[in-house]
Amino acid sequence: MSAGHEQKFSGQPEPFPGQVVPAPGGGILTGALDEVIAWARSNSLWPLVFGTSCCAIEMMSTASAKYDWSRFGFEVARATPRQADVIIIAGTIVNKMAPVLRRLYDQMADPKYVIAMGACATSGGPFFYNTYSVVKGADHVIPVDVYVAGCPPRPEALLHGLITLQKKIQAGQKREKIIIDRYWKPEAVPETLSS
Amino acid sequence: MDVLNFLLITASGLFFIGVYGFLTRRNLLTMLISAELMLNGAALNLVAFNRYRWPEELDGLFLAVFIVAIAAAEAALLIAIVLRLYRNTRSVDVSDITELKH
């Protein structure tokens, strides 16, 4: 462990260890096969067992009998990132956890997806102001596909998030770029909304 | 080539591979592996003779089975000894285990 993970978030943004470089080969996907694969991927999202705090309980509820995400084929929660397809960031990510999250994400086999569950993972949520240790949104650490708001989002909301992700995969959409302007302030209202 | 000859040559090949390993390796466990190869060569030899020379009798087969059984006993004992030596001398290298102090 190198000293000072907190350095990651002070001063100029320094890239996380492990920059992504595409490996050669692969990627000959066309037409119908493409669709079949997208169908398979979207219907078999195995989540990583990853929960940091309160939202993890709601994630467990989603797995539980009443909401039962196994109906969609999500129930094979894997404990190792190698076998998981989607990482549901259920809970707050703090600065000490951020490298861990990054490492977990890096160690997942491609293709991989990320759902930010709850206010904390989306933006820092309740811990946005006045805290020295919370990452203000998991997308500062890893790229996020779907954001689910709520504190905690109720299980149906998480299911809705998963369905959104399914739709996204089926539509063949690529992941948004990492939002680079960290410390994006909530005051900065985008133009589309303010008019 | 006749099948019996071939088998016997294979068997002796295994045996001499074992011999080679036994001579070049100074590590007790690799030596054990070599010894297993030698024993296997011997067993194959016996089985081949039994099968292609006196097929109506079973002595060769039984001898081979017993060899396997004894090889198992030998391996078990040897490994027990190796582990014991290892605890005492922190090494499985024969040249390190010159004197058995304990």
């Binding site: - | 099948v3 002796s12 009798e57 006993a73 027990a80």
Partner: protein, 171 residues
Amino acid sequence: MLQPDWILYILALMALAGGVMAVTTRRIFRAAVYLLFSLTALAGIYFWMHYEFMAAVQIIIYVGGIVVLIIFSLFLTHQTGQPLPEPAPLQRWGAAVLAAAAWVGMAVLLLDLPPALREAAMPTMSDIGSALLSVNETGMALPFEVITLLLLAAMVGCIVLALKDRTALNT
């Protein structure tokens, strides 16, 4: 029956190649794996010869027992990640020449054996069983019991050795 000789040749090649790799590789864990290949190929030869019982014994004891035991003891005594020391070149070449010469000599001697009796009735399991249990002079009951006693002795020996070891470990 579809049992051409080339299957035998392939199996023998596998056995020999596995053996060679096992004694020459410098990664000790791989040595065990190559030994596994060699032994399995031998079992294949036994299957090819229709000595299924022998083949099963080979697999069950060698592959399932001895190799597993060797692997366990590797974990116990080795930094399995470190390569083994290379033998001195003189020793290596000397031993190789010696073994090869001996093998060639042996092969030459073996070449003029009378041909094999290829078509023969195979012993069935009950043949083997009766032979194992019969007490007359061709029966194997006595050696069988002796082997059993030997195994018992081996077990006792192992336990004595290993348990002392265990107490040493705990301290």
